[in-house]
Symmetry: C2
Subunit: 372 residues, 2 copies
């Protein structure tokens, strides 16, 4: 059950339709792509996407005895990536420029493959044991096979865009490749924040947070929308507008995600509540709470700067309450709404049907929806 921050039930319904059609249009080509991986890696790829796969008599390799079975009920559709948000943006951008959906399929396949490639590798580097309510790929198949499967998804994503070997392929492939560079920069920035203090001249500013989010979350959303435009034959200026839309939506989405990371809900994020705080990750609700000029804000600053690093799990409920009291959650919602408004403004100059424009607005609302 999800409700939205400022999103109407009808917007949510439209967004879900967009994702549903994107899944339907993308699935055949996506499965075909993953099946092109060599046997054992194809099995790993199928697992990552939550597909049935015949693993042969021995079943998939096991990384650890602790993982005893894959929960039957767990489904990737329960998590964001399974929702095909990025493919939905590819198709919408192509639709805005009047191109048929078929033209956008390679872009949708590519962003979905790349998104999953980054998830697989990130879970290894972060040591995250679960993904979409199931054991992460590396827990199920081992680090080596998971690493190679991730590389395989990466290569297949480029392949999806480079099949035609014409100028447009080069533009599309360069776009995806640059998005990966930008994502990497965002991730490294974000990781660097962990070492920085909560207060004082070395503290992480909201502007720095936004820059990191534009990269780590925005780059691929931007790429999705831009790819749809490129494959539809859009001019560079139009492509840039779709990209800007995606970058702002990345910051908005990251704001919503940071709220979920601090206050719930666990089922959707698959992460224990408050973990970001225990790991000293500089999430925006805390940054905004700290910059609010209120007594709660001052108490929070005192608490975080004097607290042992890493923060004690017992101190967590008190800290979370103070962040709320200092208005961290509300300010973050406002930031998300502000970024969403900026995102939609980027598309204002692109002529498109009222229906398509409403679909973009619905997707934007959906991306920042509030957890139940």
């Amino acid at each position: 059950m999800t409700t939205a921050a400022g999103a109407t039930p009808s917007e949510l319904r439209v967004a879900q339709q967009m994702c549903e059609r994107a899944r339907r249009w993308t699935q055949p080509a996506l499965r075909e792509a993953v099946a092109r991986l060599p046997g054992p890696l194809a099995a790993a790829g199928a697992y990552q996407f939550g597909w049935q796969h015949s693993y042969g008599p021995e079943g998939p390799g096991r990384a650890s005895d602790e993982v005893d079975e894959v929960p039957e009920a767990a489904s990737p559709a329960g998590a964001d990536s399974g929702k095909a948000v990025r493919p939905a943006l590819v198709y919408l951008a192509a639709e805005a420029l009047g191109a048929p959906a078929e033209r956008a399929v390679p872009g949708a396949v590519a962003v979905e493959l790349v998104h999953n490639f980054t998830l697989v590798h990130d879970d290894i580097t972060d040591g995250d044991a679960t993904r979409r309510g199931r054991p992460a790929l590396w827990r199920q198949f081992g680090v080596g096979p998971a690493l190679l499967a991730g590389d395989g998804l990466h290569v297949l994503a480029m392949d999806a865009l480079l099949r035609r070997r014409d100028e447009r392929s080069a533009v599309a492939a360069a776009l995806l490749n640059r998005a990966l560079i930008a994502t990497m920069y965002g991730q490294v920035r974000d990781l660097g924040f962990v070492q920085r203090p909560w207060a004082g001249p070395e503290a992480v500013s909201v502007a720095e947070y936004r820059a990191a989010a534009r990269g780590k979350t925005g780059a691929l959303l931007a790429c999705a929308a831009a790819l749809g435009a490129v494959l539809a034959g859009g001019l560079p200026r139009q492509v840039a507008r779709f990209a800007a839309f995606g970058r702002h939506m990345g910051v908005a989405f990251q704001c919503a995600d940071d709220i979920l990371g601090l206050w719930g809900d666990r089922q959707r994020t698959g992460k224990p509540v408050g973990d970001d705080l225990l790991q000293a990750r500089k999430t925006i609700p805390v940054l905004l709470a700290l910059t609010a000029d209120t007594p709660a804000s001052a108490r929070l600053r005192d608490l975080l700067t004097r607290a042992e690093t890493p923060l004690n799990r017992e101190a967590l409920p008190g800290v979370l309450e103070l962040i709320g009291e200092a208005g961290g959650e509300e300010a973050t919602r406002r930031e998300a709404e502000h970024q969403t408004a900026l995102a939609l403004r980027m598309l204002a100059a692109v002529p498109m049907s009222a229906e398509t424009r409403a679909r973009f607005a619905a997707m934007a609302a959906y991306l920042t929806r509030r957890g139940s």
Copy 2:
């Protein structure tokens, strides 16, 4: 000190000149590319290439206390990859088609980046702790940073080819990307061989070995030569010939490498002698020794099929001697020479100066040279 199997001192000198000029022509652009990685990853990339890098006050991150220092004397030029064999092939192919070296630089940069990306990830998946006589990247920086740095090198390689965003870029990028798919298939095939028996109907055939080597070793050598031809404006038919040259050279090179893996020398390979055998890897000297119809061959078959798996380290000297007695090393050298001849024959139909043709022959001899 290296001498060659059938290579003259003058051929070796020419090949070394080819590699030396390739290093000189490639280095500036390669360093520029690696410097485009975000800070911590750029440091990891520089380490991988064996360059001086300012790591900041704390020095590079440490994955393990066991690795105490980076040996000063160790130099990447002491290992094959540091020899710039792949860039040398890129430039030679461009030279054959009459193009200036500058035109081939993006190809040389791309193959060198991709080669190192695969080394970095392979060392993680294989758990290899040393590379070029120094701690492998993951031992020095940790698995997570090494994995990300590998991904970064991969992305930069594509970027080098996609900068111009024209049709030729798309062809070049698709070529590199397909080479990665072929490499992956070869690696997976080769890994699958480990589970197969040494004798009987399930045994690995020499034809299967060649197919795996064409992928895991040949695909990137083929790509190097083909990229040089593409960037020089070569026609598809010519490009295919350079690719075929590289694929045969891949098998020849793998033969030479398998000999080194069994009998030495350790300094050059960085791997303990005989390890391939202990890991039940199906290397060609053993396969050819087993198919020789001699008493030694029969004794070897008995020994390997009755031996415990994995093979006991104490049994190693006896097994190695039997492989030699059954003619495994000599047959492997003949296979390498046969593949080298096939490789050069692929270029016979490509018009080029006698000097350039001699340079290809020198490179081919160099790639399969005998360890000292």
